[in-house]
Each structure stands twice: as structure tokens, then as C-alpha cells.
Symmetry: C2
């Protein structure tokens, strides 16, 4: 039984109230780009949008947990920047991973290939998201709830656009009186924080763009989004692009990794990444920043050519968001190593800081053949009820829960076990809410996952190649948040995949 720390939720409303609220909800969402593309088959000539799956009410969230998650983000930014810049430390972990993970191995090879000829850009941009669940110790349900980190993402973090809109939606519904007066004691404007993520993520990209400087040979500069074809979560991305154009006067272009050979060249002298817009003959734009909204998993690489293209971008003078090595730093295995005593202090020596970072970790165990790994294998096979089994690799999906763990492990070769980690399950408190999807409201028990966005732009020392760390941190910001909420029955997370919803925050004390 999950602990009860929240008021009864969502507010109970009549069918008339719900019908009014739904109409207001859908119209505002569709009007304000809180939308996704419908499935291609349903989307006549691409002319349609469907409102994004979003909760009808913002979910209650403990204020202290929210503030703590935001407060530690700049230290997580710094931590992962320092990891990416500490090749010696990181590559020891990666060396282990590549034996069992072909994708990691391919990424690593890109890094090594480029390293051989030397990196020409010493700036690196990370747009990160640290994801948390609220944890209430089942043995001590009256002690204050705390946050436990679920995942740290270093590439293609999404929903920074839509999350801003969700906070605006809930504030709008409240302001227009669509929430019945009877909910006024619960729902207050001041407790629904306005999420700055869309603007702040654009600000971070703009900072990198500016730090890049002028293009060579009189070329104008632009930011390149490397995207998936037929992206359904398109408006989330477009909002960042529109912010870049309107607030910073920065041009953006969107291409898939498959389009690179046709549209991209490297300046042979400066290694400037040059984009040739297919829709504008004779225009050559120098790319200041390559912003990856794809290439986080093997599915995005269709052929060897795509790996050559990824290498071309890595070789270039463009600032990468992220670089390959920053992407590698996001491996779940790194999270697991960090969870071990003393590791965080290596990168953040101030123990008042490293302790707070460390306090957000749930217990994580390797499944390798170390003594800790062997002990964890025993737990996984014989006492799996408090645990989840996770692949090292990014991209969501394929988590194995509790009693399903032993059978799953037995179904794969033991040599592959070390590509998984075992994590103590976080026990989120009981909460109800309503999710609106395709115009239909469903209500039930939900689980909310808080993601905090962070942006860090740093300058590597001469020693990126020799693992000597960072020369300068140019930008380090917490850049907003995302609350993702799913039905408690469902054990998968991605909203775009149709399993969950984007939520807003209602701060409770």
C-alpha cells in the first residue's frame, strides 16, 4: 500500500463541471500548441494536431521536494560536465559497457576516431534532465517525503516546450473559472508555478550560439536541430526554435541524421559545419550548435552512413549538445557507480554539496561479477520484490519489475547480465488525478515523475584528450521542470509513446 500524504485528489466534480472543464482544456491546448501530431495514418497531409495528453488538474507535489530538486540541479550539471571532461575515469566504465552494448561501442568509436585527429571545439553544451520520484519510506510513512533520482539524461531531453505550456494551461483554467469554486481552497494561482523551461532551454542554446562567435568567410551562423523523421512531438521542439528566433534572432534548421550527406559539408580548413538549405540555393550557413533531438538510441542509425554523419558532426567546429562523450556520461552504469560511496566527492569536493547530491540517489547495484554485483544477482533472482531491472542504455522502455526479474534474467545469457543494473524501487505516495487523452478523461491512481532541466556550457581544458578536465564553466543554470504522470498500473513512462501525460505542479506544504 502506498503512503497517503496528499489531500483527496482530484477534486470531485459533476458531469456538467467536467464537460465545461474539458471543453476549455481542449480549446486552450489546441490554440496554444500544447499538441502533438496525430498518428501519420490519421493525419491528412500533416494538416492536423491533437491536444497532448495532459492532466486535468496539476498534481500536488511537496514544496520541499520540488525546491530541493531544483536546488541540486546546478551541481548535477557540474557533476556530469566534469564526468564528461574526465576521460580517464569515464572511459574505464565505458570500456566495460561496450563489451555488452553495441550502441555504446559505436558511440565510443566515434569519440576515439575524432580524438585521433584532435577536437577543434573546446566548448561543450549539455541540456540535461534529472528525473525523480517522491519516495516515502513504507516503514516510516510519517517521515517527510524525499526525492529519489530515477535517471539522469544527457541527450535529447524532451518536453521542455510543452511543460511550459502545461503550467500556463492549469493557471489559465483556474483564472477563467473553469475549476469549480469549491476547489478554490485547494487550487491557488500562487501554488501553480509558471514553468520557464521553453524559454530557458532556448536561452542556453543561444548562449552557446553566441559563445561560438562569428562564422568564417562571412557566413551567417545558425543552430541545427538533428531530429527524427516524422517527429510526433514536433511542437515541443518548435517552441524552442520559435523562442530562439523571436527572443534571440537566431535561425534554426531541422534535419535528420540521414540528410547529413546531402546537406552538410565540413570546411576543409576550419572544420566549420556548413549547412546548405535545400530550399534556398546558394545559401551556406555555418552551424554554431548541433542540438540533438535524436541519435540517442540505435533505432536512429539506419546504416553505416549515419555513423559517418555522426562522426562528421563530432569532428566539426560546431558546439555539440551533447558531444559523444557527454552522451556516454549519461549511461545508467555511470549513475550506478556514482551511487557508490565517495564517487560524487571526486567531482564535487565540497561535501556540503556532494552530500545533497548523494541524498537524491536510491540504492543501485551492478549485476557484474564484482562482489557487490554477485550479491545483487542473488537479490534479483531470489528477492526481487523491491527492485527494478534496467538496461544500461538510454531511451526508455524495457524495464523489468519485481517478480518478473528472475524469469527475465534466466531468459538471456548470463554474460549479458552486466548490461543491466538493479535498482531499489522507489515507493511514491498514493495520488489520484485525471488524464485527458484524445479528448477523453480517465481518472485513477497515478505516479508523478519530476524532471528538472539544467543547462551547462563549459570549456574543456587542452586536456579533453588527456582527461584533465574543465577549463571554465561558462553557463550553469537550472532551466525549469517537467512533471510526467502516468496511471499507476502502467509501468512505462514516455508520454509521446502514449502511456503517460504531461502534468503541472501544485505545490503543497
Amino acid at each position: 500500500m502506498a503512503a497517503s500524504i496528499f489531500p483527496s485528489y482530484p477534486p470531485s466534480i459533476s458531469s456538467k463541471q467536467s464537460s465545461y472543464l474539458l471543453k476549455s482544456f481542449i480549446d486552450w491546448s489546441l490554440f496554444n500548441g500544447l499538441s502533438v501530431r496525430p498518428l501519420q495514418a490519421e493525419n491528412q497531409n500533416g494538416a492536423l494536431a491533437v491536444h497532448a495528453p495532459v492532466t486535468l488538474f496539476p498534481s500536488p507535489f511537496p514544496r520541499a521536494c520540488f525546491e530541493e530538486a531544483k536546488a541540486v540541479q546546478i551541481w548535477f550539471n557540474e557533476l556530469y560536465a566534469r564526468i564528461a571532461a574526465d576521460e580517464e575515469w569515464l572511459l574505464k566504465i565505458v570500456d566495460e559497457l561496450i563489451e555488452v552494448d553495441d550502441f555504446m561501442a559505436r558511440l565510443y568509436k566515434v569519440h576515439l576516431d575524432v580524438k585521433k585527429e584532435g577536437f577543434v571545439q573546446d566548448l561543450s553544451l549539455g541540456i540535461f534532465r534529472s528525473d525523480y520520484l517522491i519516495h516515502v519510506d513504507p516503514l516510516s510513512p510519517t517521515s517527510p517525503p524525499i526525492i529519489h533520482q530515477v535517471e539522469f539524461n544527457t541527450i535529447s531531453v524532451s518536453f521542455g516546450g510543452l511543460a511550459t505550456r502545461v503550467s500556463e494551461l492549469h493557471r489559465h483554467l483556474l483564472r477563467m473559472g473553469a475549476y469549480p469554486s469549491a476547489t478554490a481552497n485547494l487550487l491557488k494561482q500562487k501554488n501553480i508555478p509558471l514553468d520557464p523551461s521553453a524559454k530557458e532551454i532556448a536561452n542556453a542554446l543561444a548562449a552557446a550560439h553566441k559563445a561560438y562567435g562569428l562564422g568564417g568567410s562571412g557566413r551567417n551562423t545558425a543552430i541545427l536541430f538533428i531530429i527524427q523523421d516524422d517527429e510526433r512531438n514536433i511542437f515541443d521542439q518548435r517552441l524552442i526554435e520559435y523562442n530562439l528566433l523571436e527572443n534571440h534572432d537566431i535561425q534554426c534548421y531541422r534535419i535528420t541524421i540521414q540528410q547529413v550527406p546531402d546537406l552538410i559539408t565540413l570546411d576543409p580548413v576550419t572544420y566549420a559545419l556548413i549547412y546548405h538549405p535545400p530550399h534556398d540555393d546558394g545559401v551556406h550557413m555555418e552551424i554554431s550548435t548541433a542540438y540533438f533531438r535524436s541519435c540517442y538510441g540505435p533505432e536512429d542509425f539506419h546504416s553505416e552512413t549515419d555513423w559517418v554523419s555522426r562522426t562528421t558532426i563530432e569532428r566539426s567546429k560546431a558546439i555539440k549538445c551533447p558531444s559523444v562523450i557527454t552522451q556516454l556520461a549519461g549511461a545508467k552504469k555511470v549513475q550506478q557507480v556514482l551511487a557508490m560511496e565517495g564517487t560524487v566527492e571526486r567531482f564535487l569536493p565540497d561535501t556540503s554539496i556532494s552530500t545533497r547530491v548523494q541524498n537524491t540517489f536510491a540504492a543501485i547495484y551492478p549485476l557484474d561479477t564484482s562482489s557487490a554485483g554477485l550479491a545483487a544477482r542473488d537479490l534479483a533472482l531470489n528477492n526481487p520484490e523491491k527492485y527494478v531491472l534496467k538496461p544500461q542504455r538510454e531511451g526508455g522502455g524495457n524495464n523489468i519489475y519485481r517478480s518478473k526479474i528472475p524469469d527475465f534474467l534466466k531468459s538471456i545469457p548470463e554474460s549479458h547480465w552486466s548490461s543491466y543494473i538493479l535498482m531499489e524501487l522507489i515507493e511514491p505516495p498514493s495520488l489520484g488525478n485525471s488524464i485527458v487523452r484524445n479528448g477523453i478523461i480517465t481518472t485513477g491512481e497515478v505516479i508523478c515523475e519530476l524532471g528538472i532541466f539544467g543547462a551547462v556550457l563549459w570549456r574543456n581544458g587542452k586536456g579533453l584528450e588527456s582527461g584533465k578536465g574543465i577549463k571554465e564553466i561558462v553557463v550553469n543554470e537550472e532551466t525549469g521542470w517537467l512533471l510526467r504522470t502516468k496511471g499507476r498500473d502502467s509501468e512505462e513512462g514516455g508520454v509521446a509513446a502514449g502511456f503517460g501525460s504531461v502534468d503541472g505542479i501544485l505545490l503543497v506544504d
Copy 2:
């Protein structure tokens, strides 16, 4: 043959250019509420939006014509306000109309019924739109183009919301570089004026709301939109509502005339119009302003009850936008009478003003049994090629053109002829453009109709009943514009009906 006064248009673009432009166009439109609801059958649970039909490029429009149309709008506002306040003059015209037009007769009855007990609100709001075509005299194709008024609308003028978005869309496409560089000599930001219509129309409603003053018995005040059920052009209306909430902190509610008996009461003492939100028991809102986005044609009245409801609103203390008599002032027959020498001066005695107003009129003839009417019947039957036959009543549709006029007249009883007017056809210059509808581009010869929005809030003298005119004009503003563009083959106008598109303006000298 239409005269050629514009550059070759639209710019010729390659298929790569057109595909990039289309993608940018659709995403921006869907993200920014430049959308309509799909047909109900295609709109699963109301969860979908489809981009509005809009031109791919803003249409060239002569700067002098645009400036003149904007300049005369405040005089048109005043003209129609004075007409609505001059019962004696107006009702002579209406008396004729009601013999042949049941809808006008019913409206007139509402006015008379309320007049009997006396009006309790001396403020009246008009949100108008004056529609023009560019006319180039075929006999003198090198003389400067002029504007000719097509229609003056006094109720439910639409597209003030979407028109703003269209100007923003075209400016965005230019700024983001989606229009190829080769078009740069033609398309310049400074020649694409930003349309303030959505904001300005909200400002006008807010001015009425404020002038209404405080609610009685401690009630809060709100604006009521009287709408059609399942409105497809919903986002056009929502933008005005959102502007009212965000810029003026004014609550809005939307109901159909059919919902009035269930949701509206009159305060028996003050005649305050009280709205009881079905979604919020025990809340009573006093309506400051009843804003009609329906009830402009007989189709909106399903039963006698609806006429009682319209009467209830007219009796109330709410400011009507428009009052019944202002709606009657918009009869096409009034336009025709105004087109006759000397009439405009009756209302606007300054001849420097009345001349400019008069200069926007094309020749209009009655089809009644006056000597002018009999002469016009002869033209209509025997020489119809330069003319269009129009019903007196509002709402678009059913215009009869050129050679089809004689057969049409012969098909209806001669006693009904006087419910039509004959108008000299305006000869717009030749122009090409591309229209995007349901994600598909079609290119061809088009006709552009310019609508100028105007808002006027006036205080009637004691003498509304006795036809003694206006006491005070409180607000009088030109409030933006709309360009509607349709294929030259099509002879119908309404964009929502799927025949045309919303366009933006590209000023040319």
C-alpha cells in the same frame, strides 16, 4: 480581362522550396492557433485542430487603398452608430424590408416589444467590419486603383482573431528564411503590417465592460459570447476571449441562444442580465456585454423560445454588441440608400468627410417599384453582365452574378424582387497566389477582399425611442483588418465555409 497592376505573383518556387515552406507554414499555424475545428465527423472527441485555410504568401495590396480604407473606418463607425440612433430614418427603410423579409420582421418585432417598456441601457457597442474590393476601371486601367465597398457588417464580424495570426505567420515565415532569398526584393518585413485586430477587438469589448460599471447586489461582471453550437471557427473567438482574460482580467462565458432559458435570468428590478454557470453552482455573474457571434440569420433561431431569449437579452441592462436596431442598420438596403446622393451628409455633415465615405461606394440600385428601381429591373433583366444581385439579408451566400440574374428573378415572385438589390460589379485587378487548405497548396488567380474592423461605443440620448440620436461617442476606433482571398473561379466568400482563405497584406506602392 482583369487589369494588371501587381508584380508577377506568387513568387515562383521549386518543389523543395515549396515543401519546406509548407512544413514551416503548417507547424507554425497549428502551434499558434491559426486553426479551425475539423468537420465533426472527422474530429475524434473534439480533440483535433486543422490549420486554417490561409495564403502561402501575403497578397500585394496598394498602400494608398489600404490607408484610405483604414482612414474612413471611424467615419463609417460614426455613420452606422448615427443610423442606429436615428430610428425615424432607419425604420422607414425597415418598414419596407419587413414585408419581404421574415427575419428582418422578427428582429423588428423584438425591437418594438422592448421599446414599448423602454430601454434600460443607453450604451451601445458596435464591432463592425467594412469590406472592400480593389476596383480598376476597365476603361481606364492606368488610373490609380480605388476601393469599393462590398458590404458593411454590423453583427458577428469574424476573423478578427485569425487575421492577427495570419500577419504574424507571414512575418514569421519571412524572418525564419522559409521564403527563398530570391523573393527578398518583393517580400520585406516592413511591408507586412502586423494586424492588431484580435487585441483591438478585445479592447473594445473591455471598454464596454468597463463603461457598464459594477454589478448589482455585489455580483461580479462578465462578458457573454452568444455563439453557435459546434462552432468550427472557434479559435478565432477564443483569441478574443483569451485577450480579455489576460490583458483586462475580464471573465467570458459562451452560450448558444438555445441555452438562454436554462442559464440566464433577468434581475426583476434592475433588469441586470444574470448568467448562472452550469459548471459552478451558486455563482451568479452579471453580464456587462452581450457579444453576438451568432443570431445574424434565421438558421440560428430554432423555435419561438429562441426569439423570446433574444428579446430577454435586448430588454436587459447588458450592453448589446449589437443591439437589434444596430443589426437592422446593417441591412444591405441601408447600404443602397446610403449610396444615393446626399444621404451620407445627413449623418456626417462635414462634406470633406462624407465625400471620402461616399467615394468608397459602388453604384447600388433598389429593385423596388420606384422609378430608380424600375430602371434597375430593366438593367437586371436585359443587361446584367456588369452586375450582381444580392439579398438584403446578412449572412453571405446566394449572390447571383451577371447572366444568371434574369433567370433567377423570373424564378421567384415579382413581389419578392424588392428584397434584392442590384450592385455594379467591382473589377478587381489580376493577381495570383497560393492557398493552403488541409495541407495542400493550390495556386491560381485570386480575388482579395479587404475588411476593416471598427469599434464604436456610444451613448444614446433619451431619444433612442424618439429617434433623437446620440448623446456621446465614448469610443471610436479602427481596429485592424482582414484580407480574405478566394480563387477567382469561386463566387462565394466565407472562409469558414471552405471556399476561401485568410490572407495577409503585402503593401505595394
